[in-house]
């Protein structure tokens, strides 16, 4: 079937495309599913990209075009589709899109990132696209020579404000903290403070946006004094954090309280063969370079997973003969001795298949068969465990043959 892949990456931002580059370069048959018209994720919505190593002169959208080109060079396939369901049945993962298309893969990388948080204040939804904006590059041209308000004070808020000052007449940042305190990193704060076009309103929040069919005023409230003022403006930009795109994973993938995907250092989720990378996972530094790093890690892990699973399926579960599996590790002398003993016993001559599993490298299979001590021997007939011997003697081994 043409909808079957080794690796499906959900989300075509920097994290997903990095996974795709690594995956397809190691010859995994790789598909990226992206819900938006254009790949690139968040960086396709802003301009400046000053901290991606090795690329000192670029823009964020340009860097993302290069990621895509790089993935296509190794034959990654790209398709448009919003994923609404993920089903995990052992080695088979089924991904469904909103339009009802089904795809199958041995491994899945979740790279759905995060979308702008909405404050949910009065006027925000009604005036979206009519002055309320979450994307500076999209709308900058419109606000040339006009006054705008920016809500938020983190890195994104400050970077985007600085970008907007190339266009707008006046920009007012509404900061919830005390005077001089912002969440953005110092270097950005300094740039903002030095910028003559930017004014600050401290200790304040935007409570409501007013206007008939388009933004006319922002109602700003001082949270210390309770005082309210109305600022005349044509645009209100919100940069107040982001929320992870994980609704469709609830019940299948373990999430944190805030909806981020829980992973370990290997990007593994609670489901074997399913990985999470980039802004969507629970981590501290959310940048393009860390997203790319996550993506690489997950693809390498996925490749190992697929190899191990394929080997296990073909040599153990689907074997016509009974299988004797020896779990061992180089760090355990006793288990090494057992391996050489088994090899000298000529097990394969007795119509048995003999398989060795290194418990250090192959945790997946070791965990699946609850291997707690080595050496351990497991006998499988038609894919089912019939015997399990922990630290067996030669006699015990002989007795199950």
């Amino acid at each position: 079937m043409s909808n079957t892949y080794d690796l499906i990456v959900i989300g075509g931002g920097p994290a997903g495309m990095s996974s795709a580059i690594y995956g397809s370069r190691s010859r995994l048959n790789t598909l990226v599913l992206e819900s938006k018209r254009k790949t690139g994720g968040q960086p396709s919505t802003y301009h400046d990209m000053e901290n991606y190593p090795g690329v000192p002169e670029t823009t964020a959208p340009e860097l993302m075009d290069n990621f895509r080109e790089h993935a296509e060079k190794f034959n990654t396939e790209f398709e448009r589709g919003e994923v609404v369901d993920l089903e995990v049945n052992g080695l088979e993962k089924i991904v469904k899109t909103k339009k009802g298309t089904e795809y199958k893969a041995k491994s899945v990388v979740l790279a759905t990132g995060a979308e702008p948080r909405k404050l949910g204040i009065e006027g925000e939804e009604e005036l979206k696209g009519k002055g309320v904006s979450y994307c500076a590059t999209c709308d900058a041209d419109i606000f040339e020579g006009l006054d705008v308000v920016v809500v938020g004070n983190g890195n994104s808020a400050v970077e985007e404000s600085i970008y907007l000052t190339k266009f707008v007449e006046n920009l007012t940042m509404i900061v919830i903290h005390d005077e001089g305190v912002m969440d953005a990193e110092k270097i950005l704060q300094e740039k903002a403070m030095e910028n003559d076009t930017i004014d600050f309103v401290w200790n304040s929040v935007v409570e409501e946006i007013k206007g008939e069919g388009m933004v006319e005023k922002a109602v700003v409230k001082n949270i210390k004094t309770g005082e309210k003022q109305e600022l005349d403006c044509h645009g209100v930009f919100f940069f107040v954090g982001r929320v992870p795109n994980t609704d469709f994973l609830k019940g299948t993938i373990e999430l944190t309280e805030n909806g981020y995907i829980k992973t370990n250092d290997e990007m593994e989720t609670n489901q074997p063969g399913v990985y999470a990378v980039g802004d969507v996972r629970n981590k501290v530094v959310r940048q393009v370079i860390t997203a790319a790093g996550d993506g690489a890690t997950a693809a390498v892990m996925a490749q190992g997973y697929i190899e191990e699973e394929d080997y296990w399926q073909n040599n153990v579960l689907k074997s016509d003969n009974s299988v004797l599996v020896a779990f061992w590790s180089v760090t355990d002398q006793e288990s090494m001795d057992m391996i050489s003993e088994l090899e000298s016993m000529g097990i394969e001559d007795n119509d048995y298949r003999f398989v060795k599993i290194d418990t250090y490298k192959n945790r997946l299979i070791s965990n699946r068969y609850d291997i707690e001590e080595i050496p351990t021997i497991v006998k499988l007939v038609d894919g089912e465990v019939t015997e399990k011997l922990v630290e067996p003697s030669t006699k015990e081994i002989e007795s199950i043959l």
């Binding site: 018209r37 009519k130 002055g131 999209c138 709308d139 900058a140 041209d141 020579g145 388009m214």
Partner: protein, 105 residues
């Protein structure tokens, strides 16, 4: 698609009978540039029933704001010179535009 500007907007849109679709765009708006080819396909398909036009807001901002266009991309439909539909925002899809057109042809 018809190019609009200050000089012809009134004639071609506000004083025009029937349905007119105006695609508001700008060079810095990547989403607008991505959407444009899809709108051009619609223009071929529905061109007999609807007038398709585009307006680069660069140099025409006052005009755009007069039409309450303060977000890109914006697709606005006019019927006999009256604004009857305004689609905008970064989640705007060509299917949404097609639906709006279908509702009026």
């Amino acid at each position: 698609m018809l190019e609009l500007g200050k000089e012809n907007f009134e004639d071609e849109v506000l004083n025009s009978d029937g349905v007119v679709l105006v695609d508001f765009w700008s060079d810095n708006c990547d989403l607008c540039l991505d959407l444009m080819p899809d709108v051009e396909v619609l223009a071929e398909e529905y061109g007999d029933d609807i007038k398709f036009a585009k307006l680069n807001i660069k140099g025409n901002r006052r005009l755009a704001i007069g039409q309450k266009v303060l977000g890109l991309p914006s697709i606005v439909l006019y019927e006999d010179g009256e604004k009857v539909e305004h689609l905008s925002g970064d989640e705007l899809e060509v299917e949404d535009i097609r639906e709006a057109i279908e509702a009026r042809v």
